[in-house]
């Protein structure tokens, strides 16, 4: 997926100084000459390891390859054309964007809010800052299953409280109306701590003295946040946003574990759509264009946001 990010930037630079080579043994000299390539080897292998399947997948997408038939023929752009003509694809694209947008928005707002509250020196904040790391250690699938358990109509601990506020028959993931809502709740539950931790780290690395100046200058907390904290924090916020957008656009495990794309196709995101095509229905070659489309989408969004991030960084440093 991210071949462009891991392309090796290092350059071989360990050339022996002139004149010294003649004095050294030839074995030593040879070792020296190869050392830069040895150092690069892991990056090279990694790049190749990512590239080969990627290229292979692209090649496959121009065929009618299927997991249950052995004869393969070249069919050009047919897979791509049929994807663009299929209403399932457009539906899934919409779901994917909706999911990513809702999750990212909720998590960023919640995460920044909580981080601001925890960026304080009291016992509660200090305790919570340590505890926050624990949810991140749980695999999203497990987190989803835990959530499934607590909303389970017969044994879930959330059923009682829901009944008390008059929502006893709230169906969560079982109803097409609330399935997306449930997904966002679970995603936020799993990933908000990630946002909190990044934003907290950002907040705690901000210089202290401008805040003293702001204390004397006055202004409401909102005024100070808007004029001082936000611009200084913008690079961290944008990087966090990139991470969350990239991952939520591709999110598979939470949706798969909670709704499997259902009920019906109410939460059938591109990842799930492609997965379903590829495996239960053997249409691997049909699924690849969707994955490539998703990859291009993620790449584009990240590319734009990283551009913003660069500018925000300069602005925060006061350069631009």
């Amino acid at each position: 997926m991210s071949t462009t990010l891991s392309s090796p930037q290092t350059q071989p630079s360990a050339l022996p100084p002139e004149g010294s080579a003649s004095k050294e043994s030839s074995a030593h000299a040879r070792r020296r000459r190869f050392r830069p390539y040895l150092v690069l080897a892991p990056a090279l292998i990694l790049t190749i390891g990512i590239f080969i399947p990627f290229i292979a997948a692209i090649c496959l997408s121009f065929t009618d390859y299927s997991l249950n038939s052995s004869d393969v023929s070249f069919i050009g752009f047919d897979n791509y054309l049929s994807m663009l003509q299929s209403s399932d694809f457009w539906h899934s694209l919409g779901i994917t964007i909706e999911y990513a947008f809702l999750c990212t928005t909720v998590e960023m707002l919640l995460g920044v809010g909580v981080a601001l509250l925890l960026n304080d020196e009291n016992i509660v904040a200090r305790f919570l800052r340590i505890v926050l790391i624990f949810p991140l250690m749980i695999a999203p699938v497990i987190g989803t299953l835990i959530w499934k358990l607590i909303t389970n109509p017969s044994v879930g601990i959330l059923v009682g409280p829901m009944r008390m506020i008059g929502l006893g028959d709230f169906k969560w993931a079982a109803s097409p109306d609330s399935a997306m809502f449930s997904l966002v709740v679970v995603d936020a539950w799993v990933y908000t701590p990630f946002v909190i931790i990044l934003v907290l780290a950002g907040l705690r690395s901000l210089p202290k003295s401008p805040y003293e100046a702001a204390l004397i200058d006055g202004g409401s907390p909102w005024f100070v946040f808007k004029n001082l904290t936000l611009p200084m924090l913008a690079p961290v916020l944008l990087i966090t946003l990139v991470f969350r957008l990239m991952l939520s656009l591709q999110e598979f495990s939470i949706i798969f574990a909670l709704t499997e794309g259902g009920p019906g196709d109410a939460t059938m995101s591109l990842s799930l759509q492609a997965y379903n095509r590829a495996f239960p229905f053997y249409g691997l070659a049909e699924a690849i264009p969707m994955m490539l489309f998703l990859w291009a989408l993620v790449y584009l969004v990240s590319f734009i946001l990283i551009g913003f991030w660069r500018r925000a960084q300069q602005r925060a440093a006061g350069v631009a």
């Binding site: 003293e212 100046a213 200058d217 001082l228 200084m232 602005r315 006061g318």
Partner: protein
């Protein structure tokens, strides 16, 4: 604008053994310019930060314009603080740095622009208004820092070492500027500095601090000519005052034991010496005249160092452990090994208690007395030491 009064102001940082600021009494008159002078770490910044409200007060009182401000939020104290490290707002342009306070107080855009332009003109930073702090030199940052402190028209202007990060030429330039600004705006101003020249040049009165305690609070000339104790005497002046221990020999002479040093006790200091057996003598280098002919009361000695500085010549004479430096008009007459005679100016002699370091005073000398009979007693808080 208002007067600023500190009463037994004390700050003990948590986990510190001793007080950073120890029972500080200080009265700054309305429109006055005072300097807090002392070595690094003596509690100057802490004092300023307490006045600004950035540090809590352990005990004592801070009054601005006769209002107790101990528990007032920093923004409500009417102070402007130019920070030691500038503390500008990095993401904001200079213009918005200056406007921050005015905007926070909800002034109209037109009024804000007018005030920002006005202060920018005063501090000559108009051409910087659209730059960000990172693009400024340290001298420019310091100007912006001061402009930001002044744009709100504070009751009390606090300047924390505004000149110390600048190179020598810029320092003198900005020093003159500060003096002009004060003459123009008449803010009650407290400047913090560890540079005695800066304090002498700028302030109406100087408060000398050491280890959190006020040593002396008086006009530059008084502090210089009549230092309240050995610390103040040694801290001000370049080259520093000669201070050395002498014994009183048969109530008639001050001597450095086992050396040739023997200074007859002049009538003017007779009373101060009294029945003491020992005291410390202080005299500035230019209070000593050097000659090659013996006169009445002159102290014989031998030259050990000669420094020709162009506008003065410094001659050092050693008596045992003590090196006495004198500063005389330029001459080529002296060289090491030459026997000379030292004449001590009577009125330049300072006597200090050898134990406490306090200046010996017979009471007729009012320079280091508390302002106990001053009408504005409240304002001229007693000088403590």
């Amino acid at each position: 604008m208002a007067e600023l009064i500190l009463k037994t102001l004390t700050k003990v940082y948590t986990q510190a053994q001793s007080a950073a600021v120890d029972e500080l009494n200080l009265g700054v008159r309305d429109g006055e310019f005072i300097a807090l002078l002392g070595p690094s770490g003596c509690g100057k910044s802490t004092t300023l930060r307490m006045v600004a409200g950035l540090e809590s007060v352990t005990s004592g009182e801070i009054r601005i314009g006769n209002k107790l401000v101990n528990d007032l939020h920093p923004k409500d104290r009417g102070v402007g603080l130019a920070f030691e490290n500038y503390a500008l707002y990095p993401p904001l342009k200079v213009r918005d740095n200056l406007a921050f306070n005015l905007r926070a107080h909800g002034l109209g855009a037109k009024e804000i622009n007018r005030r920002v332009d006005e202060i920018a003109r005063t501090l000559q930073i108009q051409e910087l208004l659209d730059l960000k702090p990172a693009a400024l030199s340290s001298g420019q940052k310091q100007r912006v820092n001061m402009a930001r402190a002044m744009v709100r028209r504070p009751s009390v202007l606090l300047l924390d070492e505004p000149l110390s990060h600048l190179d020598a030429r810029l320092r003198v330039e900005l020093r003159t500027e500060i003096k002009r600004l004060h003459a123009e705006q008449r803010f009650t101003t407290v400047i913090v500095t560890h540079d005695q020249l800066e304090a002498m040049a700028l302030a109406d009165r100087i408060a000398v601090m050491n280890e959190g305690k006020l040593q002396q609070f008086d006009t530059p000339l008084e502090v210089f000519n009549h230092p309240a104790n050995e610390f103040v005497a040694g801290f001000l002046g370049e080259p520093p005052m000669n201070i050395f221990r002498t014994a009183v020999a048969d109530s008639r002479r001050l001597v450095i034991p086992d050396t040739d040093f023997a200074l007859p006790i002049m009538p003017a200091i007779q009373k101060l010496v009294g029945s003491r057996k020992e005291l410390k003598l202080g005299i500035r280098p230019w209070g000593i005249r050097v000659s090659q002919t013996q006169t009445d009361g002159a102290v014989p000695g031998v030259v050990v160092v000669v420094e020709d500085l162009g506008d003065e010549t410094r001659v050092g004479i050693r008596y045992g452990e003590v090196l006495i430096m004198s500063s005389i008009p330029v001459t080529r007459r002296y060289r090491p090994g030459l026997p000379v005679f030292l004449n001590f100016n009577e009125e330049d002699l300072n006597l200090f208690d050898p134990m406490t370091g306090e200046r010996l005073s017979d009471g007729s000398d009012s320079s280091n007395q508390p302002y106990e009979n001053a009408a504005e007693n409240e304002i001229q808080a007693p000088v403590s030491r």
